[in-house]
Every structure is written in structure tokens, then in C-alpha cells.
């Protein structure tokens, strides 16, 4: 500070003595650390809450607009083999349940056929 007069020796000594006084600290360092932790924890909590809300929203949208499962397909048709009147089924003609998926009509089909004609074409009933 070349343009200004320096402090007088008396002021300089007083300045030195004043500088040796230590300001009192009434603040608690542990309390400060606790407060800092609280603020950081609050921020993390908000982050997790936000993340949970976003994931919940995504889940809800996927429920509403997501692809449908096979259980939502039209109800399946079933067909039953009936022996001609007057005929009795032999043991080799025990009815058996066969299930397949009709790709053209996109429906599962269940038919009951005698074992002997499993591979024969079956007339299906609604």
C-alpha cells in the first residue's frame, strides 16, 4: 500500500495484540457433519423415490399396452369322436384327447379320437 501512510507503531502493536485473540467457536463440528449427512441422505431418498416412480410408470404402461399372452386368444374349439350308431368301440379304439393349434383360425383345438385313427383327418365340431 505505497500511497497510504503505514500504521503507527502504537496501532501496529494494537493490531498485533488484537490478532492474537482467538474468536470463540460455539459451533459443533459433529453437528455440522450430521447436518451435511442429513442433507445428502434426503437427496438420495429423493433420487430413489424418483426412480421408483419412473419404474412404476413403466410397469403400468407395459400392463396396459404390452403384448397379450396366449390366454387371451379366442376360446378353443373342441371336437369329439362319436362311433357310428350300433358300433361298439374295441379296446384298440379307446378315445384319446389330442390338442393342437389351428394356425389358420388361430385357435387351440382339442379333439377326442380313437387310438386307431389318431393320424386320420378329424371332423371338428364347434
Amino acid at each position: 500500500m505505497p500511497d497510504h501512510e503505514p500504521l503507527t507503531p502504537a496501532d501496529r502493536a494494537c493490531e498485533h495484540s488484537l490478532g492474537q485473540l482467538r474468536p470463540r467457536v460455539a459451533l459443533d463440528r459433529d453437528r455440522l457433519i450430521y447436518e451435511v449427512g442429513k442433507v445428502c441422505g434426503r437427496r438420495q431418498l429423493q433420487l430413489w423415490r424418483g426412480l421408483t416412480a419412473v419404474l412404476g410408470g413403466v410397469l403400468l404402461v407395459s400392463f396396459i399396452h404390452g403384448p397379450r399372452g396366449p390366454e387371451s386368444l379366442p376360446a378353443g374349439r373342441s371336437a369329439a369322436f362319436a362311433p357310428p350308431p350300433g358300433e361298439v368301440l374295441s379296446l384298440r379304439q379307446v378315445p384319446q384327447v389330442v390338442e393342437y393349434f389351428d394356425a389358420q383360425q388361430r385357435t387351440p383345438v382339442r379333439v377326442v379320437v380313437p387310438m386307431e385313427i389318431v393320424c386320420a383327418p378329424v371332423h371338428s365340431q364347434e
Binding site: D11, L18, L21, P23, E35, V36
Partner: protein, 163 residues
Amino acid sequence: MELTDLTNLFDAHASALTLYARGWLGDDAAHDVVQDVFVRLASARRPQNPKAWLFCAVRNAAISHLRSAQRRQNREQLVAQGRPGWFEPAPGAALDAAAAQQALAALAATPREIVTLRLWGGLSFAEIATLTGAPLSSVYDQYHAGISRIRQTMEASCPTTNR
């Protein structure tokens, strides 16, 4: 900011910052302001000059707090509520802590702020000029006048005046 960094800054500057805040506020409010500033610093990026940042933040917070407090009661009442004991009483010290507090409190606001920043905050005159927005020459003049005024007030306590 790292916690160790923060605690180091706290150890180095908390007392001076509290003294600085007491220039405007009572004890409890000064503590709250300083603590809030450290909490803010913890969640902020480390400033280039943390010491200057801390004093600037405390200054702004203290003035803001004072303005809101003035709506309820005037500053004199607030200061009167402040408990004594700005300095640690030291038996072997050249100056009496209570007398120094009285002399400092008797200063006008601007020289008191500058003396506090310089003596206990350890800021340079240039940093004080930046912080207060006053010209450098004015800062020095105010500091000079403040020290002289304190010496005159404490004439009985200052060792140099007893010679």
C-alpha cells in the same frame, strides 16, 4: 466436496466466520448462518478460493437474515440479545477479550467488517475490496481508522499505550 476437506475448512475458518457474522447478528443467528453456509459448501463444487467464498457466503446470508429479522425487531434489540464472549478469554493475553469485544462492537459497521476480515479472517486487502465491493484505497483507510479507533477505545488495555 470431500468431508475431510470440509472439516479442515471448518477448523480453519469457523471461528472467524462466526465472529464476522456476529457483526450483523446475535449469537444464535450467527451460528445458524455459518452452519448453513458450511452445509451449502458440502453440496457445492469446491470453489477456487474457499476462504473468500465462505466469507462472501456468510456476508450475504447474514445480511439477508438481518433484513428478514428487521421486519420483526430492529438490529439494536438483536445485538442486545447476543450473549457476550466473541473471543476466547486467554489469561496471558495482552488484551482483555471482553474489552476487545466492546471496542470492536463500538466500531461502525464498515470498519468493523474490514478489521474482522483482515485480522481474524486473514483476507488480503484486495480480497476484502472484492468482497465488500469497496475500492482498495478505501478499504485500507477504513482498516487504518478502525485499528486506531479500537486502540483509542482500549487505551487502558493496549500494552503500547501504557508505555
